[in-house]
């Protein structure tokens, strides 16, 4: 006679399997995600870059993305290694490997389009169940704009103005999109430098109508020097650029251009294009994100104080639930990224000497301010997501406890199941510290006109000097200095 297993034991085995599955999946998540955040993964490379050990920093990033050399790139692009490609591109640009830097930026640009447009719905579910870092990376507008801006520098540094023009057009598409969609996270200066460099790219090849359009936008967004104004007046004179009418910031320059004498394309070229040397100096480093544990009350206050997006606010019920959980001890804190400048050098003095004479330096872009502004505008909504996640987690844990208790009739196993679910979700709840963290803090520019010849250019950033000889002839030369941060 076949012996049947007693019913309770069958239940118990099945419940044990559920519990084991939960615990194994919990451990698997811990194994897969670990506790390290994106900032942890790039920390050492960043330190090397700040200390001037740029090549070493590149090698660290190569290792992180599984490449032996800088000409290799990851076969499978994830959100994290796409960002690391951008970090590497910034460093390759600093050591003069412009073609490799441009390639990395082009790959990242295309990949960010995919990440932006593809599978956002699926990602949102992950964001609410697990962690901000499980969602595909969606670069903030200023990062997307800086990608094309800095890639213009790569192309122009090797004299490829056609490539720079392609980047300028890409910049314009993104600019138009963001101005219509997310203009509140953008500062005017996020747009000024890209438009200015776009103007340079088109002006260099004699496409003056396009140059006038880009330069005019750069001026509108706040890039203004007296020499630039003179250039604009003459450029408007040869192109007939008419501005956007009353109230347009360039209108007075348009009026001046109409009052002046006739200027030929050839005269403009001789006066403003041939012998031009544009120096781009990137210094400091932009603020980055690191994980912080906020007590629940503080987290709710933070979400309230940074509530710019009314689609992402906590309901009264959610707030009360979170507070109840805090009081009961079920929810102690919220893991959330904070913006920090810890370990960064802060504002750097920049001096540029061309042939021994100091050149006038002007601000191209204050990226520190752009990062802070964008974070200020979006962090409230992200905090709401983090709090909602914690509530969801607690509900999932309670559900697991109830289901296990019902299946086994044992409260002890129910508690274990709850702990397993909460533990696995806690492990997966890494604060999302992803950002293009090796962006410079500031980009400064200097522009001079020189007779044909070879000139020594020295750039001092906080006492450290980078020198280069630059050949000047017909056309425009663009040189980048970003090794010393």
């Amino acid at each position: 006679m076949q012996r049947r297993l007693p019913q309770p034991l069958q239940h118990s085995t099945s419940a044990f399997s559920i519990l084991l599955a939960l615990m194994v999946s919990g451990f698997a998540m811990v194994g897969a995600s670990g506790c390290a955040t994106y900032t942890d993964h790039v920390r050492e490379a960043k330190q090397d870059a700040l200390q001037g050990r740029t090549q070493q920093a590149v090698e660290r990033l190569n290792k992180a993305i599984g490449a032996e050399e800088s000409h290799q790139y990851p076969e499978k692009l994830t959100s994290e290694n796409t960002l690391m490609l951008l970090e590497r591109a910034t460093l390759l640009q600093a050591i003069g490997k412009y073609k490799l830097a441009a390639r990395d930026m082009m790959i990242a640009d295309q990949q960010l389009d995919w990440l932006d447009i593809g599978a956002q719905g699926k990602a949102k579910i992950g964001k609410y169940m697990f962690s901000g870092s499980s969602v595909k990376y969606r670069a903030p507008p200023f990062e997307r704009l800086l990608l094309n801006t800095l890639n213009m520098v790569n192309f122009m540094a090797v004299g490829d103005y056609e490539g720079a023009q392609v980047e300028a057009r890409r910049f314009s598409i993104v600019e138009y999109f963001f101005l219509n969609d997310e203009s509140k996270t953008l500062l005017p200066e996020s747009l000024a430098l890209g438009n200015y460099l776009g103007g340079v790219a088109f002006e260099a090849t004699g496409e003056y109508n396009q140059a006038a359009r880009y330069y005019a936008d750069a001026y509108r967004y706040g890039l203004r020097t007296s020499r630039f104004e003179r250039r604009l007046v003459d450029l408007f004179r040869i192109t007939g650029y008419g501005g956007k009418g009353k109230g347009d910031a360039v209108q007075q320059l348009v009026d001046r251009s109409r009052a002046g004498s006739v200027l030929s394309f050839e005269e403009y070229r001789k006066q403003y294009v041939d012998g031009e040397l544009l120096m781009v100096v990137q210094s400091g480093m932009a603020p980055y994100k690191e994980g912080k544990k906020y007590p629940v009350g503080q987290a709710i206050a933070y979400a309230n104080a940074h509530s710019y997006n009314y689609n992402y606010t906590l309901s009264a019920k959610e707030k009360s639930r979170a507070r109840e959980m805090a009081v009961s001890g079920a929810l102690k804190w919220i893991s959330f990224p904070q913006l920090t400048e810890k370990g960064l050098p802060g504002q750097r003095n920049v001096n540029i000497f061309v042939d021994g004479r100091e050149a006038a330096v002007f601000m191209g872009s204050n990226i520190e301010r752009q990062v802070e502004h964008a974070w200020e505008r979006i962090s409230g909504a992200l905090m709401v997501a983090a709090i909602t996640r914690m509530i969801t987690r607690a509900a999932a844990g309670a559900g697991a406890r109830e289901a296990t208790q019902q299946a086994t009739g044992k409260s002890g196993l129910g508690i274990l199941a709850q702990l397993a679910v909460e533990g696995s979700m806690l492990a997966a709840d890494k604060p999302d510290t992803r950002s293009w963290s090796m962006l410079p803090g500031r980009i400064k520019l200097a522009r001079v006109r020189l007779p044909d010849g070879s000139y020594p250019v020295k750039v001092k950033v906080a006492g450290r000097t980078e020198s280069r000889n630059v050949e000047i002839g017909s056309g425009v030369r663009v040189v980048n200095f970003s090794r010393n941060r």
């Binding site: 085995t13 399997s17 084991l20 194994v24 295309q110 389009d113 995919w114 447009i117 057009r169």
Partner: protein, 203 residues
Amino acid sequence: MKEFQTFSVILALGLMAHLTGCAGQHMRGSENPALDQMTFSLRFDRADLDRLYKKNIEELMDSSIMGQWKGQAQNGAPPNVAVFPIRNETSEHIRGSLDALVSKIETDLVNDTPISIIAQESQGALISEVKRQQSSAYDPKRLAEYGEQLGAQYYITGRIYDVAERTKDARRVQYFLFLQVLDVETGAIKFQHEASLTKALIG
């Protein structure tokens, strides 16, 4: 024991899922012809090049200027024709594809028509200058000067431009390839045609 077995099965399944998730497969276009037809990005690829090229070259082959050239060749005086670089006015880095397009035009004209083509290779520094100068070199007068220096009676040139748009959940690029034949001596346009195609990334 049973519990250990359950645990082992779960662990094994987890590992399998992890390992198969990383697996990939490499293949050639000859093994899977559909590869050449698939769209991997919004960039201008070989399939796009073929499509736009086909439309333009068919029009050129049927054009009156081609008839005129064939007539000249029958009279023992085939015209010398230079093919200049195609200008990239798009928001995509497609210079390599455009250079390939010029080679394709040259190849088809050499193989299928009686005209004399001045090969790009022999144009050397001049073509570099055309590329470097970009817009000013694309000034028809300037190009005519280059054509004259090369001993060409006609030159073929063109430009590709795009209309690119982006929304929250889609990105679309429409490419337009514009091909022209110009008379070096008079600057008259002897042929022109535009072909277009659209690519999109939709979320």
